[in-house]
């Protein structure tokens, strides 16, 4: 079982992802803005962070810089879940040293596969 933090401001998206994650037996945490997300990431030390790029106080790209600059989160896997285009998501993952992306709308299966892939990669 892994501890997964989702940083997202839209409640419908949180509800959807929470169901998926809990059904896989993982622990689920969430935050609705960048400041709260950073604080929760530092205090809870998740195994995986799912990050929305459009947040109300600072966007996900900026938040990923804050997360990566924290010594205990520097290598925590981060998956971007975004409404941006595939190309922007790909460039963001590469430039900001993140671990993967899913462009909205994505299916339950795609989310599960991505989580398994990233957590599996970490375990290996």
């Amino acid at each position: 079982m892994a501890k997964i933090l989702y940083i997202e401001d839209v409640q419908d998206n949180i509800t959807f992802v929470e169901k998926v994650i809990r059904s896989r037996g993982h622990e689920f945490l969430f935050a609705k803005n960048a400041e709260a997300g950073l604080e929760l990431a530092v205090t809870s030390q998740p195994d995986l962070i799912l990050l929305d790029l459009g947040l109300p106080d600072a966007d996900g790209q900026t938040l990923s810089v804050w997360l990566r600059s924290s010594p205990t989160l520097a290598s925590t896997p981060i998956i971007v879940l975004t409404a941006w285009t595939q190309e922007v998501a790909r460039q963001t993952v590469e430039a900001y040293n993140l671990n993967g992306y899913l462009c909205k709308p994505f299916s339950l299966k795609e989310l599960v596969n991505m989580i398994d892939l990233v957590l599996g990669t970490q375990a290996a």
């Binding site: 400041e35 947040l55 106080d57 810089v65 804050w66 409404a83 922007v88 430039a95």
Partner: protein, 283 residues
Amino acid sequence: MTIEIIPADHFTIQELTDLYNQTRVDYLVPMPMNADRLSEYVHDFDVDLHQSCVARDTDGQVLGLSMLGFRDKTAWITRLGVLPTSRRTGAGSKLMEHMLMNADRLGIQGTDLEVIKNNEPAYQLFLKKGFVEKDTYLVMRHAPRPMTIPKQGEVTWLNFHEALEKLEAYPQHLTWINALESMRNSPNTEGLHIRLANGGSGWLVYRNTKFTLRSTLSHLIIHTEQGQAEEIGTQLLSRLHTQYPHHDTYAENIHEADPHLLAFHALGYFTNFSRIEMRRPRP
């Protein structure tokens, strides 16, 4: 549907923020805000909430909003949005009509706005309301990374007043958000000037915005006074990112033909999206 238009200053900033976020929930480029950011936006970009509008139906249900900024004889329409469930009701069109009516009543000579490229419904609405396309601008990002470009020349860091002095002499058009007035409205404006051994020189003005935990760089404007734009731009950006190695950077509204674009790309900037600037002269 009967749509009523109310001045936006009848609502609190928190109510306007919530409404704005709801209108953007499925937007092409989601850009939610919190109340602090919207307040800063209103202040920095001279938005007049009394002339800005909220649309609602006869049951009192809010449908959308639009904001209007004023500077001298120019107006700027921004944050226009309609709730997903209220689209195709004429609310967007009605908001636009009121914005333009308010601008005309105040003797405005021209009204500007920016639309995200490929937002076809909004673009078509603006064409119908008499706007014409002016120019295309890029919104670019830069993640922190080690700078490997050899340093050249002599750098002078510019404080708020020195940065604004440089900007006052900028010879090109700047969109509303990077205009002199916007930069003057923010205490976070600063800059740097470089002089190279080969005689080249130029400056970079930007905002260094302090968040609770970290800062970000934004609103970058580069000008080459003398010499090659690519060389001057590369040196200026390299010095900036060497000085602030951990800052995320958001370069908004860089003209698509800006002579410093190659410098941005050389430093690892990539484009998030493009905006089209449109203008409607007073009929």
